[in-house]
């Protein structure tokens, strides 16, 4: 009986350590905010047209391409055309782009509501460009920089986070892109396949709270 007890104890430790190793997996992006598999709360943020936007407004959507971006970060600017192209490609098949500007205009005057309206007009944004007033939403997501992408899929549980990170593998140079991480993830969701790469990293501008 004593041997059995010891064996059970050893087994318990082994199982426990497996969980510990899992939880300190260095591949996991550490930090607060949503991880892949979490359910994202709905939002209610002001768009540049003055109207409030929520995920629940989109009854036909299968999910959302949520992008924290802004006017002033050169990496965001370098990705504007790519974001417009993403909306054109995926809006009508269920995954519209929702852009959220997380920067506090008091710290970044170039990210004021007026400046956002102007930039959206200049570039012909086809998607909502929302103000994170009071900088309340981006910390919930755990966004740290612009641009920073969260791909959500509507599920019976709510909007599930399926992918976090970069648009592609070269934010500085669109013509040198080899892997389109975000498109691969959306395509996988559309075809009911598993997303191969669920988290990526890119250089971006720290969010100005």
């Amino acid at each position: 009986m004593k041997t059995l007890k010891i064996l059970t104890g050893v087994a318990f430790v082994v199982i426990l350590s497996a969980f510990v190793v899992r939880s300190i997996n260095p591949n996991k992006i550490v930090g607060s905010g949503y991880g892949v598999g979490d359910i994202a709360d709905d939002i209610s943020l002001k768009n540049i047209d003055g109207k409030m936007v929520s995920y629940s407004d989109y009854t036909d959507a299968k999910g959302f391409i949520v992008i924290f971006t802004c006017n002033t970060c050169p990496f965001s600017v370098a990705n504007e055309d790519r974001i417009i192209a993403l909306d054109a490609k995926y809006k009508n098949i269920g995954y519209p782009v929702i852009a959220i500007n997380p920067n506090n205009p008091a710290s970044k005057p170039g990210d004021s509501f007026e400046a956002m309206k102007q930039r959206a007009k200049e570039k012909g944004f086809t998607f909502p460009y929302l103000v994170d007033e009071g900088q309340k939403v981006y910390p919930m997501y755990g966004a740290t920089k612009t641009p920073h992408v969260y791909l959500l899929q509507k599920t019976p549980k709510g909007n599930e986070v399926k992918y976090i990170g970069a648009i592609d593998d070269n934010s500085r140079n669109a013509s040198a892109v080899k892997v389109k991480y975000l498109e691969n993830a959306v395509d996988a969701l559309l075809s009911g396949k598993t997303i191969k790469v669920t988290e990526t990293k890119a250089i971006g501008c720290s969010i100005k709270a």
């Binding site: 500085r172 990293k201 971006g204």
Partner: protein, 184 residues
């Protein structure tokens, strides 16, 4: 000049592992291949006040340094908080110059706007070594710098042979010096 460019011109080396030792097991696994490669430092013919490297080149370059403590700051000329804290790194370099501390400013400027970097270095008379990291595949190298780095700049690593610390934040001179002193 900032560094002896010629010294690196035909630089032929193992892709060195030492830098990885600060980073931990994950990276030991990822560089298990340990392949021998020619590390090229581009733009050496051009008279730029910085060297241009890809990530492997950056690692090899850091490996050639014999300083005891390295302070490596990731920045860009267009990054306001980075530019704001840059004088603190310059001051740190000046104050600790005799203590075998090396400050390296790794620029993430856009390759097509690289003259901005040259102008910036000249205009502000930057004395710390500047390395232009021309490596678009950030998803591969960001976790190699630090697994906790989200990719936002400014970001700084401080390391010696025994330990390292990573900071995704802006520094004042006092907070920067305080972190450095933990290594002295």
């Amino acid at each position: 000049m900032l560094i002896a460019h010629r010294k690196y011109k035909q630089y032929y080396t193992f892709v060195v592992m030492k830098f990885y030792t600060f980073i931990g097991l994950l990276l030991l696994i990822s560089c298990k291949g340990g392949n021998q490669e020619i590390v090229s430092f581009e733009n050496l013919e051009e008279d730029t006040p910085f060297i241009t490297v890809d990530y492997e080149g950056l690692e090899a370059y850091l490996e050639t340094s014999e300083a005891e403590v390295h302070v490596v700051n990731f920045w860009a000329t267009w990054c306001k908080p980075c530019v704001k804290e840059l004088p603190h790194f310059e001051e740190l370099r000046a104050v600790y110059d005799t203590e075998d501390v090396k400050v390296i400013l790794v620029s993430l400027d856009f390759p097509e706007q690289i003259e901005r970097l040259t102008h910036f270095i000249e205009k502000w008379n930057i004395q710390s070594e500047v390395v232009f990291l021309d490596d678009g595949d950030a998803n591969t190298w960001i976790p190699k710098v630090d697994v906790n780095w989200s990719g936002a700049i400014p970001a700084t690593i401080i390391y010696n042979d025994e330990k390292r610390s990573f900071h995704e934040q802006s520094f004042t001179y006092d907070t920067l010096e305080k972190e450095l002193k933990l290594f002295l």
